[in-house]
Amino acid sequence: MKIFVVVGTQEPFDRMIKAIDKWAGDNPGNEIYAQISHAGYLPVNMEYTDFITPDIFDQRFNEADLIVSHAGMGTIISALRNSKPIVVMPRFAQYHEHRNDHQIATAQSFEKLGFVNAAYTDLELFGFLNNASSLTAAPAIGPAASPALIAKLRQFIED
């Protein structure tokens, strides 16, 4: 299985990277590539890079069977657009993984809508990874925002 791991451009997310690296060690034979953003913890069981250009991001994204990501909108929208199964792990403010807990609310809301699988703990993450082949993607979204939003913006711009 090809797994693409994304932590985003803002800050590292060692808790998630450490967990996936541990799982990768216990489950050899998967092809895992991680974008780790100057992490304090460097993976030993998977390939990684600090940052990635938009081109390479798209390429890795398209090739992957599964996306595992922090609960950032960039990755979630890309997964919905490309109909890729995605597991998100929200960053917690209490572990200094983000300035606030908005990723928890994002993960919960998008989980409720059936758009993502949400893992809040290492154990939940392992659960999803162990059943990776049975994870399905939400139906693909279109290339643009809802017509109501486009119309509202257009009207204001041209008014």
Binding site: G72, A151, F156
Partner: protein, 152 residues
Amino acid sequence: MNVKPKKILAVASGGGHWIQLMRVIPAFEGHEVVFVSTHEGYKKVAGARKFYAVTDANRWNKLRLIKMAFEVRKIVVAEKPDVVISTGAAPGLFALLWARLAGKKTIWLDSIANVEKLSMSGRLIKPFARLHLTQWEHLQGKGTVYSGNVIH
């Protein structure tokens, strides 16, 4: 139908904010768009349209934030846009601020990531946004409008 083409300055920091901005591009059809973001790598995505990269910063690195504020101001002054739109975060906040002070139309589209309350930038910029949008129906009110979202 004959609307005079407007010049739109579309601003977003890298990652999710930028991706959300890309999804409202159809609203700019027939108008001139100039993009501003924090990653030079997006220049390609902007295609034939003009693109500026500014310093990346958030509210925790004050010096970089000040540097960015001045870079954004320079762009707003040089480009003289009719409309400034942003999906967040800090560069958009500054762009709307400078544009509103210059009497331009300003649009804030708060990120869909903000489910429980508007983003910090979104709350700060509200007095300077002539159109202040949330992407969640339950967050509308008090001058903040809901009219759909970027996921469709």
